[in-house]
């Protein structure tokens, strides 16, 4: 009997250790990845002239390493995706959690999960064959391979993330809020727009920030449909012009560069920029959700 107890504690100890190691390993991996990025990318600042890195032209095989057009490309595609994705995503989740009857929800939710599971290269293929030609004719653009087409695809890719988190946020709004609003004579739309959505806004902001993170890191779909022309914007119509994103640049050029060359280091430097951007997005997202929690705790107490 005693022996058995002993072996049980041993088991506990081993299992605890395994769980701890897997928990800490994620911290270790992120740190190692970050150190690796720094080691490979930071020498770019020394080996490629700064005037070139912060220049306006990206043409690496002739020594033009300007990252501004790439940064701009990523930002504009992501912003475009949010402009389309937020109303679409939030609208969908309001419909799911407030309006749709349960039988319809049983159809919509799995479909959105399928959308989340679609490989982005498949969406990219649809984009290049269907969306780009269609948008070119519809908007009378010189070419359909533009930031806007990329933004449409990214909105589709970010929607499942936005929908699932927004829906969770809406579901945590106490039923009493809605009942109070309705009792005061508010219509259903007034209740949703004036009470439920504002009460869930911190959750919605988190959803949006995670959507940003999902969009800015997406590679394959944008590489296929944005045309990959590294241009700085000349006007407000830049959303409808071709752009080149940071992720697409890394993906299409990493295979050919010689190890340790300035071009290689600049690609890693772009990796650092991406890493820092998504880190910032994540920090903002988590600080928002924390702030939201303290506020709701304050309200309830």
């Amino acid at each position: 009997m005693k022996r058995q107890e002993h072996s049980v504690t041993r088991q506990e100890w081993v299992i605890n250790l395994v769980i701890k190691v897997s928990g800490y390993s994620s911290i270790l991996f992120v740190t190692l990845i970050f150190l690796f990025l720094m080691r490979e990318g930071l020498p770019a600042l020394a080996n490629a002239p700064l005037s070139s890195i912060f220049g306006a032209r990206w043409y690496p095989i002739e020594g033009y390493f300007g990252i501004w057009p790439l940064l701009f490309g990523s930002v504009i595609v992501t912003l475009g995706a949010l402009l389309i994705g937020i109303p679409f995503g939030v609208g969908t989740s309001v419909f799911i959690s407030e309006i749709a009857p349960p039988w319809l929800n049983n159809i919509i939710k799995p479909v959105i999960e399928i959308l989340a599971g679609l490989p982005s290269v498949v969406l990219g293929f649809l984009g290049i064959q269907v969306a780009a030609p269609f948008l070119r004719r519809l908007l009378d653009l010189p070419t359909g391979l533009s930031a806007f087409t990329g933004a449409v695809l990214l909105a589709l890719i970010a929607t499942p993330t936005i929908v699932s988190i927004t829906e969770d946020a809406l579901n945590t709004v106490p039923v009493s809020y809605r009942q109070a609003a309705l009792a005061l004579g508010a219509t259903r739309w007034q209740t949703i727009w004036g009470v439920t959505v504002p009460a869930a806004r911190s959750g919605i902001l988190t959803a949006v920030m995670l959507g940003v993170g999902r969009s800015i890191g997406e590679t394959m779909a944008v590489m296929m449909v944005t045309g990959n022309a590294a241009v700085l914007p000349h006007g407000l119509d830049a959303l409808f012009k071709p752009v080149r994103t940071m992720t697409a640049t890394i993906a299409s050029e990493m295979g050919e560069v010689a190890n340790g060359s300035p071009h290689y280091q600049v690609l890693f430097f772009i990796g650092i920029v991406l890493f820092v951007l998504s880190l910032a997005v994540n920090i903002v997202a988590s600080s928002m959700s924390l702030r939201g929690r303290t506020r709701s705790e304050r309200v309830l107490s």
């Binding site: 088991q11 070419t143 299409s252 050919e256």
Partner: protein, 296 residues
């Protein structure tokens, strides 16, 4: 008791996993001791279909040889040759001096074979009324000086420039021979508005769909859904469409040699393969695929 079983099961699984790894290693060693030779062939997307056709025919003739062919661009193949991960690098451009230096620094002496010739076709949408351009007009279009089809006798439409990515040998060739017109001291590059597409198929599908577009691609890739433009090497000379004849007699201006690179001290199997490629049977496949065979 149940927990006990679970732990035992886990341990067993781990042990089994270890077993499979070691037995797989054993199998690999067994295979390599037989007569099969495997050749890694990688590089230019222009050559990839040709290399695949050659590899299939050669493997049918010599079942003991396995050739795996992958694309990725000339630069990718040459980088692989330098790193020692590739036996034969396909390239649609000659190796650059710094690449040869890098290979030598790794203890590899590259050996060059010209295995076929390729014409670069300049293509437009069939709806586009422009049928012919001079080399200089094409250069000005890709420099971003000519931006409307009206300036070269077409409709009033903006010109959308399409190009392969910078890791493509076709891109480098086009830059040096067309955009810079072969002038080595000229440091002009493509207009920043040029769309860099990751594949030949991307260029063909955009040209097929978009009447504003102009693109270029290896003659072997051009389909009947796009229109090939006749090119004159300078104003006043004859406009010539690309074909095997016009490339071999030098009338078509935009053509180049295609290369394969091996180590100078490559194995007998690789040397046999290269000899076969330069022979009549393999060169007949070159013609079938729309390229131009090398004259003996």
């Amino acid at each position: 008791m149940k927990r006990h079983l679970f732990v035992t099961y886990l341990l067993l699984l781990l042990l089994l996993a270890g077993c499979t790894v070691s037995s797989a290693q054993g199998a690999a060693e067994g295979a390599s001791s037989e007569a099969t030779v495997s050749i890694q062939n990688k590089g230019s997307d222009t050559i990839v279909n040709l290399a695949l056709a050659w590899a299939e025919r050669y493997q049918a003739l010599h079942p003991e040889t396995r050739i795996s062919v992958t694309g990725g661009g000339s630069g990718t193949g040459i980088t692989g040759l330098i790193d020692g991960t590739v036996d034969i690098a396909n390239a649609s451009r000659a190796m650059k001096a710094e690449e040869i230096d890098a290979a030598k620094a790794n203890g590899i002496e590259p050996k060059e074979y010209v295995i076929a010739r390729d014409a670069i076709a300049v293509i437009v949408n069939p709806e586009n009324p422009v049928n012919r351009l001079t080399l200089e007009q094409i250069s000005l279009i890709y420099r971003g000086v000519i931006t409307n089809w009206m300036e070269v006798g077409g409709d009033d439409r903006p010109i959308v420039l399409l190009s392969r990515e910078t890791n493509s040998g076709t891109h480098v060739y086009f830059l040096e021979s067309v955009v810079r017109l072969g002038n080595k001291s000229d440091k002009t590059i493509f207009a920043p508005e040029t769309l860099l597409l990751p594949s030949s198929e991307g260029i063909i599908s955009e040209v097929r769909d978009n009447p504003n577009a102009i693109g270029y691609d290896g003659l072997g890739y051009v389909t009947s859904e796009v229109k090939v433009v006749a090119v004159a090497s300078r104003a006043g000379e004859a406009y010539v469409l690309p074909s095997a004849e016009t490339v071999n007699d030098g009338k078509y201006a935009i053509s180049r040699d295609l290369y394969m690179y091996t180590h100078a001290d490559a194995s007998q199997a690789i040397r046999d393969y290269m000899d076969w490629i330069l022979g009549p049977e393999a060169q007949a496949i070159v013609t079938d695929l729309g390229f131009v065979p090398v004259n003996p």
